[in-house]
């Protein structure tokens, strides 16, 4: 790889990292704003215009709080826990194709940090590591309620990862590739995977809610009835990191869902726009930039959906959660796989 490419990749990774953090920061603001709007309130509006500086004020508050570590806690692990949660959350956005290719001065610039040919597996591997953050944090607190919360979190995440992976296999059977860029490319124009995989998408969506510990599956936290789950003993910025990691996870999972099912940076009438501009380089760049905007619009729509659901649905009971995961979603995902396989075979023999 040339050094120019390396520098470009470095800059791109930093930019993606920054965007991820920015979106996560403002997710906290929009979460409160959306919660307020749904409950006929106005939400934070004191810090800056429309309360836009609220996340900074919150972060400042968290930074200045006392760094408290319980006396009998395992100090090293107690500190590493939120670190792992944060690290893992920020890692997975590396393989997401935020756009197609820009041509600047005859050089092709791909709007993706790294194109690994096992992109989907990479995302899933990283996401499943996220459980360690919760588990270590809960265990190191040396508090039985934290530990119980962590166990709840771990068993929930593991249960729903299965159904998530199974629903994903149907998409992989269709596309025949694990690379997120190739999956995105195959959904040219309006040929999105959601039209072929509605059931798979619903399963994936439900599992995504469970994986990110969002309502109606936020039993690991369930702040109202179970203290605070795995982060009971946490305060200050370590608690902030846990909460922040959750928002980053929402962003990443939204990006993955838009890539897998909603055509990533593809949008309807893409080719019409491309052919409407005579200069091929300019046409490519315009289409790519519109594609990036479309990709982010899809991500924001999903983030909004996450919050919208949070302020609509009450929490599941734990046995209902497990029943839904093991007895309903996994059989449905297998059914979806069988149907997809049958359809692929029939398509070859019929047409």
């Amino acid at each position: 790889m040339e050094s120019v490419d390396l520098i470009y990749k470095g800059i791109f990774i930093l930019v993606i990292f920054g965007i991820t953090l920015l979106i996560a920061t403002y997710s906290t603001y929009f979460e409160r704003k959306i919660a307020a709007f749904i409950q006929d309130r106005v939400g934070p509006n004191r810090a800056g215009p429309f309360g836009l500086l609220q996340p900074l004020a919150d972060a400042g508050k968290l930074f200045f709080k006392e760094e408290f570590i319980p006396a009998k806690a395992n100090k090293a692990l107690f500190i590493i826990g939120p670190g792992i949660a944060m690290l893992v959350a920020t890692m997975s956005s590396a393989v997401i194709p935020f756009g197609d290719m820009l041509i600047v001065g005859g050089r092709e610039i791909w709007l993706q940090a790294i194109d690994v040919n096992i992109g989907v597996l990479y995302v899933f591997g990283i996401v499943s590591l996220g459980v360690y953050g919760l588990m270590i944090g809960g265990w190191a607190s040396n508090n039985k309620f934290s530990l119980l919360g962590a166990i709840r979190a771990a068993s929930q995440n593991i249960s729903y990862e299965l159904a998530m992976g199974l629903s994903l296999i149907a998409v992989l059977m269709m596309t025949g590739s694990l690379s997120l860029r190739e999956i995105a490319e195959q959904q040219q124009g309006f040929n999105w995977n959601i039209w072929y995989q509605p059931l798979g998408f619903i399963i994936f969506l439900v599992c995504a809610f469970a994986e990110t510990n969002r309502t109606p599956f936020d039993l690991p936290e369930s702040e109202a009835e179970l203290i605070g789950g795995y982060h009971t003993e946490y305060g200050s910025m370590k608690l902030g990191m846990y909460l922040f990691a959750e928002y980053i996870n929402i962003f990443v999972v939204s990006a993955v869902m838009s890539t897998l099912y909603f055509g990533a940076y593809n949008f309807p009438f893409m080719e019409n726009l491309r052919s409407a501009i005579s200069d091929p380089v300019l046409a490519n760049n315009v289409v790519t930039l519109v594609g990036v905007a479309v990709m982010f619009a899809k991500i924001f729509a999903f983030i909004f959906f996450f919050m919208w659901v949070r302020w609509t649905l009450p929490r599941f009971r734990y046995d209902q959660l497990m029943k839904l995961g093991w007895q309903i979603l996994i059989p449905l995902a297998i059914l979806n796989m069988v149907l997809t396989g049958g359809a692929i075979l029939l398509k070859d023999s019929l047409f």
């Binding site: 709007f37 749904i38 006929d40 919208w308 659901v309 609509t312 649905l313």
Partner: protein, 169 residues
Amino acid sequence: MEPLSNRSKKVQKREMTFAERAYLPAIAQGLGITLKHFFKKKATINYPEQTRERSDIWRGLHVLKRDENGAERCTACGLCAVACPAEAITMTAGERKAGEEHLYREEKYAVTYEVNMLRCIFCGLCEEACPKAAIFLQDDKLAPARYERDEFIYGKDRLVEPLKTTETK
């Protein structure tokens, strides 16, 4: 066991339909309701900038009025204290000295006049009882929250109408 009365009803749990068990239609319905609220007019009043509209006859913080020359109208007759159902008003009376005619309208005046805002129920009976039209409940002021209990006992320093406002009015 024998039933105590025959009023007990057999409750039968209806079997849920498939649409109900699938849960998704109900979720969609709920999302519709929350989305409707998302665009509704908000009930919030941005307090320091806006205040909730009060009625014209709102009974707020007490004021001890002065007459047109700026002399206090109160003669410490004690009718307000008698009328007060919460026993929030206390006062001590004193005799006006020579040279104080511009301060007090009548020969007798209130040396101290205290209203305990923690006891007061803002019923307005004191202003009805007052024969000299000296005490009124204002419609634009409240007794604000404070840290100490003693701070809620309003003396003459906080009750008597300031001089300037009478001059301008």
